[in-house]
């Protein structure tokens, strides 16, 4: 395993549009980049048994998740020719309509950024030990199930 500094993936609460805008703006100094690919996961107001989801409360097995995110990062860098990569995932409560996952890949040419972005999102959905509790208007809840 490399000794590259581990990045903190988890953010408390929703990922704001200003945070995303700033992340994009920061890359204007990296002039060898020709393409960015961004995935934003937004909390959807599914209706389950006549009740509408108003928020998702995320919890994680932090220690294991950090290891997993690190491994996904390293593998993506090996597989694709990327200039940089950022992953942010919410913990705690995120309201419907807000962003809970932000994956941002950059490369010289579009193919690497786009394919790496999809690859990373898929692996996060399948392998990151994170659980979402879907909370309804009346504060009752069910545990979310990912469609893979």
């Amino acid at each position: 395993m490399s000794d590259k500094k581990r990045k903190n993936v988890f953010k408390e609460g929703a990922i704001s549009s200003s945070f995303i805008a700033e992340a994009i703006a920061k890359h204007s100094t990296k002039k060898d980049i020709g393409a960015h690919s961004i995935f934003l996961g937004q909390v959807r107001n599914d209706v389950i048994n006549d009740k509408e989801v108003k928020a998702i409360d995320y919890t994680a097995y932090n220690e294991m998740a950090e290891e997993k995110f690190h491994e996904i990062r390293e593998t993506a860098f090996e597989k694709y020719s990327l200039t940089c990569m950022h992953i942010y995932h919410s913990l705690g409560r995120v309201n419907s309509g807000e962003i809970s996952l932000f994956v941002f890949t950059s490369s010289k040419h579009r193919k690497d950024a786009m394919e790496a972005c999809t690859y990373i999102v898929n692996r996060i959905k399948e392998e990151a030990p994170v659980w979402g509790k879907e909370i309804f208007e009346d504060e009752s809840y069910i545990w979310k199930q990912n469609t893979l």
Partner: protein, 77 residues
């Protein structure tokens, strides 16, 4: 010997706690059986077991001080 148990998601709801220690359990199958007796709802709940951060399969020996995580299917993102 002692092991630390961590429960996540719906498993923590079923057990009503997210962290505790257990003693004198040597194998994962023994642990599962013991927990399913205490919490019958676990029998119909899907979960994976990670020992010291690694997901395991089959019946395996638990060593003293191991951290055993009970993890239902992931639903991040």
């Amino acid at each position: 010997m002692k092991i630390k148990i961590l429960a996540f998601g719906i498993i923590a709801d079923i057990t009503s706690k997210s962290e505790w220690t257990m003693e004198n359990i040597q194998y994962s199958d023994e642990l599962k059986k013991h927990l399913e007796n205490l919490y019958p709802r676990l029998k119909s709940t899907k979960y994976a077991i990670a020992v010291n951060l690694l997901i395991t399969s089959g019946n395996f020996e638990l060593t003293d001080g191991a951290t055993v995580a009970l993890m239902p299917p992931f639903s991040g993102g």
